[in-house]
């Protein structure tokens, strides 16, 4: 799969970045390509480009607060989860997304 996504937590200091790293590590271990944008205290980093979004099979939004610029993903398959899901079991989440996509 080609995954893009966004992580954002309440304080925007720690969980946002831990969740990103966990998602990226899990996706790579499972053989997927992934790019995650972070929306934190220091602003947006690794911003998803229109080309990134266009090429994506699925969008994962892992957030405990409102995420900016969601309109970019109109028409895309989206999976929205609280940050805690990524913190706890990133691999299981990606596997679930795999299964969901396989169903069509």
């Amino acid at each position: 799969m080609n995954i893009v996504g966004i992580t954002a937590c309440i304080a925007g200091i720690a969980h946002t970045y831990i969740a990103k790293e966990k998602l990226v590590t899990a996706a790579k271990e499972l053989g997927h390509s992934i790019k995650i944008e972070t929306q934190g205290t220091i602003g947006v980093e690794d911003q998803l480009t229109p080309a990134d979004v266009a090429a994506a099979d699925v969008v994962i939004i892992a957030a405990d607060i409102g995420v900016m610029n969601l309109e970019r993903f109109v028409g895309k398959r989206k999976v929205e989860v609280p940050i805690s899901v990524v913190m706890k079991s990133p691999k299981a989440l990606i596997q679930k997304v795999e299964a969901k996509l396989a169903e069509g």
Binding site: I13, A14, H15, T38, I42, S84, K88
Partner: protein
């Protein structure tokens, strides 16, 4: 970027004797106060508890990352404590906490170099083997070395 720049060496404590979260906050805040990184223990701890109420800061594997964005912080930095005994905490895996990584953030810091460094440390904490290394560290030096090796 040099990660050890964000770690406050005066607030890295090995074998911190504490029986609960409030004692941990008190002892770490005392170090930050003595160091001049915060100007008020009470105000800082209050802001840390505000964040604690929003959701679990125990990230599993015996590690917790409480954090306070606070007016009381004058120098954005990270304090690290390895506790003498594991203590109860709200954690995602239900395990008690042995390592506390406290993020103290100056409320005015937005696009700040130090907050960026903090995000680098946060990314390290996503890896189970790194957390395991912290929990098993046998001295203050070993704790610090883990952050400098990467």
């Amino acid at each position: 970027m040099l990660i050890h720049e964000i770690i406050n060496q005066n607030a890295v404590i090995y074998n911190l004797p504490a029986k609960d979260k409030s004692e941990v906050f008190d002892l770490i805040s005392q170090k930050l106060f003595e160091d001049g990184s915060i100007i008020s223990k009470e105000a800082f701890i209050e802001d840390v508890y505000l964040r604690e109420k929003e959701g679990k800061t125990g990230i599993g594997e015996g590690v917790a990352i409480p954090h306070g964005k606070s007016e009381a912080v004058t120098k954005t930095c990270i304090a690290i404590a390895k506790l003498k005994e594991p203590i109860p905490w709200e954690t995602i895996d239900g395990k008690p906490v042995r390592i506390v990584i406290m993020f103290a953030v100056d409320n005015k810091d937005k696009n700040n170099y130090f907050v960026k460094l903090m995000s680098q440390v946060a990314r390290m904490l996503a890896h189970e083997d790194f957390c395991e290394g912290l929990v098993n560290a046998g001295s203050k030096e070993e704790l610090l070395a883990l952050f400098q090796n990467t």
